[in-house]
Assembly symmetry: D2
Homo-oligomer: 337 residues x 4
């Protein structure tokens, strides 16, 4: 690579600031040239100490800033569509944090814009696809190492949920990661969702239906079950056991250091997703930078973002109604086959 | 203990013969005095080399044989009711292999007979309650070590199913163990059953709906999910993860010896339930013998056998219909509270 | 088996009383008929509630009591030789708790008595040979599963040492188990011992050289290293990793139940050798009873007891001197080949 | 960071080329500006496709090239001293792959040069200090989590040794990593070395004394034992168990994905140190770049390189003689305290 990719980062909150630091520290061949946040002070703070980076309160201005070769969207979901359409208008490669858009309708508009352009330029930030353990599991499944997959048993646990978390967000913000991971691992679409709601944990804030048990059926006749529990108390944990016709494989046990002390053996549990998936975030951005420099993407695309939005919506309906809810997708455009 | 408990073993098939050997070898304070099997030759074979044991082709005769202080029923399920009623008529303590009876109606008749007697004399052979790992899990849950239980995630796998196995038997013969274990671990009744059926494994015999995913709801608002897969190919495996409000606990990983060789680390998986639960069978019979010598039982009772039969029946209905099926029990008699 | 083996138990301390209970509860085909302890009250206490068992203050009387078919020696080491010689004089099968005798000279006298008799009647209670994990490791090594063994890395840890424990006993009471296990696993003799002494742990009682690191060289060119640490604080732990020319195998991790709670995953560590090796003790006695009924032994013999005594003595010398100490055995009699 | 650190890479073999790629891909704030290799073609190959990087056949020329702010030495050990002295003459920060120099005498000359300069500019590439698992172990030990350390039990295994490997290199190339890790983890110096040599594995090339068991004694009264086995056949494996006065901690088990199939459970073993320590290499260079930009080092220094050279030399002597060999260091200069 003979030149450096100039990146505009849209959104300077927790994720955006993290990406600015990441690009400065662990990504060769790229540098941040513009940062935008409606809170202009936050944008300035994120670029403090960095040379030659402009701060903006407007995403459109940042995308149009001089030297911008690619765009990283880390703003809140409702702001995604506008930033994506601007970047596509300029034919810039994009890495967009999930969700692509909060609802299927918006996702379809982005999909349509890209389809008209005739090139896939937007990558969605489902970073689990870049986690070393998920990659090994995918490789095993694709290689037929355990036969045709029959089940994915998934656990998704957070120590505690933030104050603004709602019952719907258990599906749209948390389980959406399993939705994408399942679609990717299996190479199948989700066809129906059922949600079981046990008596909520005493640790859950008033009114939050936590935990839940989400069942996804797939186009290939497999079953995906997800325990989502965002106030489990003991840490952040993502596990997945794939069961195939001739074997099973489990990731996420994370037994790095085993300590024996005071009558017990064991180890620590990570407390935070940025810790658990630190390497995945790094690898995602490095691979996206390498692809963007060639005008391509290297990861989940707009179709993946759209499908996730549809399944999320069906999941929220299923959780509210308590009954099995079918998932219906538009026909898949040729661009995404 | 100052004398030896004389036991009549009803049924000399695989389980019955195993019990005869067990009592001779690993159970102090007891000895087999009579063995019955409709196939008289099989009964004789089971007692060959044993001194002072009579062989019978009729269960009633064996129960009535001289020196019989207690009865161990290991005949096929449809033969249980008659043997149990005879033993109760003689007020003999009984250990009855599961199922208590094949259907709820028979179980209610046994329950009624015992209720009239006014004493609990029949113990049902749900031997998992005597497994060291299950005992530790029970102790942890009862002690509040992980808070109120929210989920039990269960795996129940066999390397291959016998030729006579049917789709119904996945529920009534296999999942029935999880039904009892869940009721015991949680101290709650099952209130509804849902069964999901993925596309059957290519390894399953024609017509067998294997694997299945069984969801049990409980009176305490917990969810129990069971992957039942009787042709998984790689071995016999029973795992259970309990998830509570403040932690989780998993049993069944069985990592006894770790071998590293040829680019891999790992170990063997048991191939057989008699291997996996050998100690549980031993402990069950030893504790039953000790209790029987005092005219008592020390394990699951007729109510447990009845409840398991009702849930099994509902599970079979749920599997056939594909919809959630409620479980309805008669009122629990005072004797079983 | 058509009759019941009558057993005299010599010694009614912790181990002896444990064996009395074991035979009553978990061993079919045998019963205790006599118990001896110099403290007659302790002998009486051990037989309380048992029918037809005589209590003695004299081992000789117990061995000669009516109905004695076999002898189980669980008295302190210095009392073993007398009991063994009496039992051999009566040609009774013996199970003798380790050590066979406290010193090589006594062991040679027992060996000579047995050699004159021309039959092996004495089995030494190295119960690890009956532990399921050790048995699997032995089977793996014998089957060539990891090639010719090069190393055994051993850990032997106690939560705390009893008040009477001495630095010599780290070798003669604790490491002696690894000495026998290594000889058995490898099928080789120990040829030299070196002992390294790190600065003692602050948790060790004044004057106790705890922990130590013991290096055994074998006749087959393998190295056995043993960390012996009898005040490790966190529990009782016996681990062994065998490293062969093409692989390694480790036992003793004992991860029965994995609990996640309060930011940690892990499990409990057994606190006591009677807990850790409960099944091994049971199996040892059951197999010895079955063999004794046929006038045989089924386990380590007097030669094994003698070799362990010689290595122990060399180990104590090595620990005191700090230098490598060769091990010299008498020629192995034909009876023990 | 407002400018980019220009790096000269000395040596374009496997390690050097790997570092050139690493800096281009995963290190922000730095770029390679010059590469030197006596084989000029190899230097040119390493810089192919990179813009503005000069290729040299002479290390001195590369160090003196325009834009060089720091030097990364990845040439063979005998070439290190010259490159280091040139870099020091120019007061450039250096990251030098281990060994600092092949012998203590050369290390002392570098130490003297740096001492005269009065600043620590040379960092030695013991990359294990940057491995996440080692870092957690170090943190645990420093925090007193398992009390004062008594033992480090180390395993260091390679699938197979390269053709040029010698018995001395088992110590100087392989165990030297444990020497540095032990000194760092314990914060103590090594005071003596003993080496035991089992009968070599049949898998070892003719004449290679593989495996060996190396015992290090430390200034704080701890014992470090290292199994070094460079033809173990099954993979690359680095494990370390620290045993303290109140607990133990083990790293290196690496159980990322657990697969069950064909009667076995388990996972893969890494085959290669660049795979096992990929993240450690990345993190080492990133942290060195950040430090070098401020004229500092952030890792093992010249004293660490010197001490490792002295222990290596003693270890080779100990392996040849078979006897315990003391380690003697010069007085530690104030600069390194």
């Amino acid at each position: 690579m003979t030149s450096t990719l100039g990146i505009a980062v849209i959104g300077a909150g927790r994720m955006g600031a993290d990406h600015v630091r990441r690009i400065g520290r662990t990504v060769g061949g790229a540098r941040v040239v513009a940062v935008a946040d409606p809170d202009g002070d936050r944008a300035k703070e994120a670029v403090a100490g960095l040379d030659g980076v402009s701060a903006h309160s407007d995403a459109v201005a940042a995308v149009a800033a001089p030297g911008v070769d690619a765009v990283l969207v880390a703003s809140p979901g409702p702001a995604h569509e506008e930033a994506l359409l601007h970047a596509l208008a300029r034919e810039l490669p994009v890495l967009c944090e999930k969700p692509l858009t909060p609802d299927p309708a918006g996702a379809l508009r982005v999909l349509e814009a890209e389809r008209r352009l005739g090139r896939r330029l937007v990558q969605v930030g489902f970073m689990r696809r870049f986690d070393a353990e998920y990659e090994r599991l995918k490789e095993l499944l694709d290689g037929g190492g355990i036969g045709r997959p029959l089940f994915l048993h998934c656990r998704h646990r957070n120590a505690a949920s933030p104050s603004f978390f709602t019952s719907d967000m258990l599906i749209s913000d948390s389980v959406v990661h399993e939705v994408d991971a399942a679609r990717w691992l299996l190479g199948q679409e989700i066809t129906a969702v059922t949600v079981l709601s046990p008596t909520p944990s005493a640790a859950a804030p008033e009114g939050l239906g936590d935990p839940r048990f989400v069942l996804l059926e797939t186009s290939g006749g497999a079953i995906v079950d997800v325990e989502i529990f965002v106030n489990c108390g003991f840490g952040y944990q993502v596990q997945c056991e794939a069961v195939g016709e001739s074997g099973s494989a489990r990731i996420g046990d994370a037994q790095a250091m085993v300590v024996q002390s005071a009558g017990r053996w064991g180890g620590e549990i990570a407390q935070d997703f940025l810790t658990r998936f630190a390497d995945a975030y790094d690898r995602q951005v490095r691979r996206w930078v390498a692809a963007a420099a060639r005008g391509r993407i290297d990861g989940p695309d707009v179709w993946d973002g759209y499908a996730a939005a549809v399944v999320s919506e069906a999941g929220i309906t299923a959780a509210r109604s308590g009954v099995r809810t079918p998932v219906e997708l538009v026909e898949r455009p040729a661009l995404y086959r």
